[in-house]
Symmetry: C2
Subunit: 204 residues, 2 copies
């Protein structure tokens, strides 16, 4: 029926100021949400970005949409990082470096996921594009590390994700006590290593 399937971004290339504003909004939103939680009034973000609420809502028709956009951009960066590490490091090092980095990222990726799903968004769906990429990157990071004997072989991506999220939360909980953070980290890392049993006495 419709001449156009009704979902095509008409390829109209967004005016210069608009593009700028959109970018700025995303940037500011991430900072503000991270620093003060996802409950900050939308208006705050607009103000902080030097923009009217109207503008914000034109770019992101819903607070939820904004949240989602921020989340996606983060996941995107994570996927990149995973890929980069996989290329530059030893499988084991890459894996643990990535793990440490994700978990340290001093903030609230969790709160985002929560806010989203609380708002009734199907995160798995929303995440699917970028999420797919991330999941692939994670899968290969994990598989390589397992093949190299650095990580116990019985784990899959779902477990890894859970471990990332949960460990992240542990760090949040511990705040600044870096000694405690390290000890807690050690628990998880040690648990991630393959159980000593079969003979394969690597560096790990």
């Amino acid at each position: 029926m419709p001449t156009r399937p009704a979902e095509q971004p008409p390829a109209r290339p967004l005016r210069a100021d608009a593009r700028r504003n959109r970018a700025r909004l995303l940037e500011v939103a991430e900072a503000v949400f991270t620093a003060r939680g996802t409950t900050v009034p939308t208006e705050e973000i607009a103000r902080e970005a030097g923009v009217g609420v109207g503008t914000l809502f034109r770019h992101f028709p819903t607070k939820e949409a904004l949240l989602e956009a921020v989340l996606l951009s983060r996941l995107d960066r994570l996927a990149e990082e995973a890929t980069r590490l996989a290329a530059d490091e030893t499988p084991g090092d890459a894996f643990f470096a990535f793990f440490a980095q994700v978990v340290d990222h001093s903030s609230t990726k969790n709160a985002f996921a929560e806010a989203l799903s609380a708002a009734g968004v199907d995160v798995r769906q929303a995440t699917s594009d970028v999420g797919q990429t991330l999941r692939k990157a994670l899968a290969s990071l994990l598989a390589d590390a397992q093949r190299a004997g650095a990580v116990r072989p019985d784990l899959g991506v779902p477990e890894l994700t859970a471990l990332l999220v949960g460990t992240h939360r542990m760090m949040e909980h511990l705040g600044d006590d870096s000694a405690a953070r390290e000890r807690t980290f050690a628990v998880v890392f040690d648990g991630l290593r393959p159980p000593r049993a079969s003979g394969d006495p690597k560096a790990w």
Copy 2:
């Protein structure tokens, strides 16, 4: 100046219906918050408890106060459980059983802590009475398990708390996939055991 320090519960023993209502509210609140998150309108809880909002707000002058009360009652039960296990089981078993139980408790203790601190409550303060008790129970559970060689010796109560909270979140994240839950659990549990090094080949 004041004849009475202004903070004494005047020991007036609360009318029977009032006591009943209060209890019912706490019970219902825990169930509802757990099932549907801490954002449910206060009125919902009143209705579910078969009570007017007015009543609810007399007993708990603030939504936050209600949340806090629920949280405290939970912590209280946890402390009891810890003590019970410590008495009935082997140090190692007690520790791991407690850990598993806290973490499994299919719900949202986290969300509570979050909601509270988001609301600007000093959780450590609010928690201090019951929290003190809990912390003591945890401390002895942990110390015993460590003394028995079941748990690595470099952990303290803060680390343990973080591990509990974080692992809890992992389970939340994994939902119903019990196989994945177990594998993830295994990571943490293995990490909690003392690193194989010095000779002390116990059952653990």
